[in-house]
Subunit: 526 residues, 2 copies
């Protein structure tokens, strides 16, 4: 029997709050630090490992986190979710993104169909379509092969798929899996679409319109922008466009599209990279087998999230440590720092995933909560960040928990030896050095050169950023955010906070404004 309770009503949270604080600088020094690195890790899927030696935890804190996981019924809640209960209570919807990559529990029927079968059917349709495009069986009107795919979407239809594309682009090129270049149009700023269109050969481009409802204003606007460009080039737009949408949307059965692939209301935008939203563009760019490997990595990571034992469940443990940092230690933000150029836009995706899911002040029953919830998430790839905002991370007045990601091998396979080491070795040496520098600090009589340390971090280490590793990474963070939402007693799957701006923007465009909004509209010449 599941009960949904606020965090501050749980006995285990009170216990957690009272555990002795761990001095990261102290415990990470000397042989004790080495022991922690050996001991504090959890295997993930696709050869990844989650390491949390440099977090402000010890066996007592971990024991308290374990009790919190039990009292908050994290495993039971996840079971309820994947077995098809209405977890998105605000919108009265199931939450089924896991089912795009596997069947974790019971068969789930909705809209009169087996949902796992539905998602697999869409994957197969996409695979078939992509194969035909690659084989030159589906071509432009002149019978020529498409060379470029352009995704038109915003938010979850943009950030996730774009981050995944960038993560795998170089891997695909190196491994002869690269089929088509992908581009993305998202912003309603007309300069975005104009710049992308100027950079491609429209006659050999296929466009994917992605909108679940078929009514997203930015996306429909950019579609028109693209259709104008196709028309001006003397092309038939309907021979260059496909749609990813829900079966009930106006786009679903329109002659304006070569094909339509479906998602549904049970997959939120920010959780849609493993659905048709990511599937179409990634299958066209890299081939369906690469997309299948990506799903496999995600599915294996999901399976780990079922483990009741937090020491065998990296997402749950990561989530609990994050709650401890936020609600007991009081840290307001978290930096995501991937030491891999391929992950250049992964922090932007995680920023949406986390902040849109858990940036909320009311619990799942619509009652205000008395504790802080989702943190600010930001980040850039290392080593670039080291030459930028790391100054504040090391010596600023606030402590920012850090989430590092690193790989033993690069993607392209080319490297150079300078001063006795390869670039890849330098990259890895830097991330190892940063973890210890943040944790242990270094005393100096000159206070300006003094490092207090005590700045906690974790690191996910993998062999290489492959499609499977990318899938596992993505699922890890999705599940982490889900578990944190459970602990905070939030509905992590709606986003009412984005509505008011939309309503007011419509008023501005209809010139139905007064007061400050009218003055601002005038200043902006609307």
């Amino acid at each position: 029997m599941i009960t949904w309770k606020n965090l501050d009503t749980l006995d285990s949270f009170k216990e957690l709050s009272q555990t002795a604080k761990v001095d990261v600088a102290d415990v990470m020094k000397g042989e004790g630090g080495a022991e922690r690195v050996k001991k504090y890790s959890v295997p993930m899927a696709a050869g990844l490992t989650y390491h949390y030696a440099a977090k402000a935890v010890d066996d007592q804190v971990l024991e308290a986190l374990k009790k919190l996981a039990e009292e908050a019924q994290l495993t039971e809640k996840f079971q309820a979710l994947y077995n098809g209960e209405v977890i998105n209570t605000g919108e009265k919807r199931l939450v089924l993104h896991h089912m795009t990559r596997g069947q974790l529990g019971n068969k789930v029927e909705a809209d009169g169909v087996d949902k796992r079968a539905f998602y697999v059917e869409q994957q197969e349709k996409i695979a078939d379509f992509a194969n035909k495009v690659h084989a030159g069986e589906i071509t432009n009107a002149a019978g020529e092969k498409f060379t470029t795919v352009v995704q038109i979407g915003i938010g979850g239809s943009d950030l996730g798929p774009r981050a995944m594309y960038l993560a795998l682009e170089n891997w695909a090129k190196r491994n002869n899996k690269f089929k088509m270049e992908a581009k993305f149009i998202s912003n309603v700023d007309p300069d975005d679409a104009a710049a992308v269109l100027a950079s491609i050969d429209v006659a050999h481009s296929i466009f994917i319109l992605v909108s679940k409802s078929g009514t997203t204003l930015e996306t429909l606007t950019n579609e028109s922008f693209v259709k104008d460009a196709l028309k001006n080039a003397g092309l038939d737009a309907s021979k260059h466009m496909i749609a990813v949408t829900s079966e009930t949307s106006p786009l679903a059965k329109s002659d304006d599209y070569l094909a339509a692939f479906f998602m549904d209301d049970y997959i939120g935008g920010r959780y849609s990279s493993t659905s048709a939203v990511g599937g179409a563009v990634l299958s066209l760019a890299f081939g369906p087998d690469v997309f299948a490997q990506f799903l496999k990595g995600a599915g294996e990571e999901d399976a780990l999230a079922k483990n009741e034992d937090i020491f065998q469940n990296p997402a749950m443990l990561d989530a609990l440590i994050g709650v401890y940092e936020r609600n007991v230690l009081g840290y307001p933000s978290t930096a995501v720092l991937p030491y891999s150029q391929g992950l250049s836009r992964f922090p932007a995706h995680l920023q949406q995933l986390d902040m849109e899911s858990n940036g909320k002040s009311v619990n799942r029953f619509g009652e205000p909560v008395d504790y802080v919830t989702g943190p600010v998430i930001f980040g850039e790839p290392g080593t670039n960040g080291q030459h930028s905002f790391y100054q504040l991370l090391h010596q600023g007045t606030d402590i920012i928990p850090l989430q590092f990601i690193g790989f033993k091998n690069n993607q392209m396979g080319t490297d150079v030896v300078i001063q006795g080491s390869t670039s890849q070795q330098k990259l890895c040496a830097n991330v190892a050095a940063q973890i210890v520098a943040f944790a242990c600090g270094k005393e100096d009589e000159n206070q300006n050169k003094n490092f207090k340390g005590g700045r906690p971090s974790s690191i996910i280490i993998g062999e290489q950023l492959t499609p499977e590793a990318m899938g596992a990474l993505l699922a890890h963070f999705e599940n982490k955010v889900m578990f944190q939402g459970f602990v905070w007693n939030l509905n992590s799957f709606d986003q009412e906070g984005v509505q008011l701006g939309k309503v007011l923007a419509k008023k501005v465009l209809a010139h139905e404004t007064e007061g400050a909004l009218k003055e601002l509209s005038d200043l902006l010449n609307i």
Copy 2:
């Protein structure tokens, strides 16, 4: 007579802390809100205006901020800086980046030369070089014109110039000022250089090696990577490379470069976009006249920063409001939200500028301070962010102050009318709507759809993102950060916090590790 005092020793700060708090939701409603929009603005250079109606200030708070500016001697400290006093006390250096765009005060001599004359001389040398490249007088060994310029640098040698290039690329294309495509290599991850090299025609590319000291390991490593690629293509690297460095660096008089242009120790990396660091790549990409317009905008904005009256000094006012939000209202981070696709990487530059300058815990005398200093800075372009992390900004448990930027006109000049409005109108309608939504909120009986409002923002509005406007924007934020550093009594111009990581990384590469660092190095296969 200037005295450098900690913020918490100032009477005016105590007074500021005791002023009545302003309820943003309350004051921004109705006609009062309209009056605030009309009243609370300051003209900037290049046709920009700084609007702060939606900030948590009123005439009493502003009066207290004015007293704080006086007691903290912000104007006198800026005068001391541009007149050549040693403001970077840690490194015992002058701070002269303003002088790359004008002479704000006295003639400043250092290293035996008039520094303004030195910077102008470098600009002229760069202009001459760029003109010769564009005219085909400087070519590759085969006598063919260069078509691409690649900047090799990291941190300030990358983020600022890259953000400026992206900001002006489409403007230049539209206005027939586009001369050469620019690319950037920064990360020591070998995949970064490999991907850039795979995307260009090396035979027609000119590379700019940017390193003040000539010893930045990432940059030298990437230079070798590039030289290998040139060699493998049968090309003479010395005919394809120029250097931007200090006159005392090993790169300054090397035969390995076609030419060398100089910066000096008085310009910090994050303040170097208007020096040769930005000058070479931007003059090659867009022509020297575009770079000169960019400097003009920055110079005019600098001149405004001299005004003692905070109501005629947008950077100083912005700085003071930021201090009030940080030290009195207790907000730990700030989001930068440009409604312009061209500014896609401007938040990443500001993240470095702000967090590396003021993310410090000791004052300029090396004494720990008892108050918080620089905030976390993050951001993405609107409207993309609206479909991402705005959920937390609207309804999260923490309040995040917002810095909007918007323009009446786009850069490319192409647009489309959908549902009765252009994309540009939709873009502007959205930013106006967001400001009011954040400030005023909207009551709803369903707490999940309730918006408390009270979330403060400012907006800089301009006609169009031109080179002059970009220069003014850049200088505004540089000066804002400088003034905040003065208020917090920090040295904003050093970055000791980045040193420890470098030292430890060298130990890892030399295999001189023990404890946790050794274990982590083993895990990463170093």
